[in-house]
Point group: C2
Chain length 243, copies 2
């Protein structure tokens, strides 16, 4: 935990915040911060800054000065074919730590229908995982998450609402290298959409539909990766190019 993130309702008008639970325990037991210590804090979707520990037990009382700019929303959105719930559960903090503006969870032919019947897609569960990742990476911008059970409808009716995108990349084994130079040349306020398929791959129909909606296939290399590893590698490549 490299940043203590506060929910808007936790921050009082006088700048104090009183916390219990995992964040308070972390400050007491891992950081071992005594009254007077200075911590990095941030407000969800708001500014970052510092906080002075006023009391550390039984609850953690902080005096916050959130006087830094609100970090920009990450420029990359992720369209992710619904993975196994166990994998998605691990992914929420990973995605937030890598930096995504929006996560678009989609059905795919090779995603099992029953994957969607999972607590891993409950908003409170998603939020908890994402906040863990933001606290790791020192960011306050909570990724937006939507779940789409119909791939065709997502492509034809829903995806346009999230854009516009300066580039739509489809991670797929291909001869083509990953377009890092092209991404680096995009305007600094443009957005990128990265699509990562199911572990069995997109079907021919899905690939055609993605291509006809402006996606270009690009590959990291010849190795097949698990979804969570692929997300880290591909988001890492996009962010390195956009830097």
């Amino acid at each position: 935990m490299n940043l203590i993130l506060l929910e808007p309702e936790e921050l009082a008008d006088d700048g104090t915040a009183v916390l219990s639970g995992p964040r308070a325990r972390h400050v007491r037991e891992v950081l071992r911060s005594e009254p007077g210590a200075i911590l990095r804090v941030g407000l969800i979707d708001g500014p970052m800054g510092t906080a002075t520990v006023l009391e550390n037990a039984p609850r953690l009382k902080l005096n916050c000065e959130l006087n830094e700019a609100i970090p920009p929303r990450p420029r990359v959105d992720l369209l992710l074919a619904m993975p196994r719930p166990k994998v998605l559960n691990r992914l929420w903090p990973v995605l937030a730590s890598l930096g995504v503006g929006r996560v678009i969870i989609s059905n795919a032919w090779k995603s099992e229908r029953n994957y969607f019947d999972t607590h891993v897609l409950e908003p409170a569960h998603i939020r908890k995982g994402l906040i863990e990742g933001l606290q790791q990476a020192r960011d306050t911008r909570l990724p937006l998450v939507t779940v789409h059970r119909q791939f065709k409808k997502l492509m034809e009716d829903e995806l346009d609402v999230f854009g516009p995108y300066a580039a739509k990349i489809l991670a797929h084994p291909a001869d083509k290298d990953f377009p890092q130079k092209e991404l680096a040349a995009l305007p600094v306020d443009s957005r990128i959409l990265l699509a990562i398929g199911p572990e069995g791959g997109w079907t021919h129909f899905e690939l055609e539909m993605l291509t006809s909606h402006g996606f270009t296939a690009a590959s990291w290399g010849p190795r097949s990766l698990r979804t969570d590893t692929a997300c880290a590698v591909l988001l890492g490549l996009v962010h390195a190019a956009l830097r």
Copy 2:
């Protein structure tokens, strides 16, 4: 499992192999391969090829033709500060799937001493995790793993044996971008060593020692990542540059 990997002693002189356990179950229950079906197989540290299913129950009997070239050893070695055992446990398959020639596990000031007292470092456990990753990524080259409890001794006496390295990169928050162009320009038979520190970072002493032994700091970006995510991002960047 995109490849069935065989131990050398499992392959008979006539090219047949009889398997039980997880691989046999995977072929029966996930791939649902009946007698006559063709599978991708490989020999650990040896060639890949195909196998015909002769029998699928109660044991799996294969007739193998391993007539492809032995894949080259990945050009990247990883020097990794000993992470929490739970994280390292997750990492073995991830590292093997991304592709590393050698994993050099090192002590670091901010790695807890008791991290080393774990079954996660037992050779049989390491091998099992690595093979899982190779089967995911369709590779046969088992990464070599050594464990070094003394960082200074590793730097001064032991590291030279593993080289030579055309580039030694130290993942560390820095203004400098990740040297992808420089890596892309290296001779195709050269090797690269990537060092990833503990989650709390290397100490000043450790950084000086790494620098004095030829490591150059490079950064993926400003975000702090968990060790397993950092490994995927950084090995992904190196491999994308070497492609």
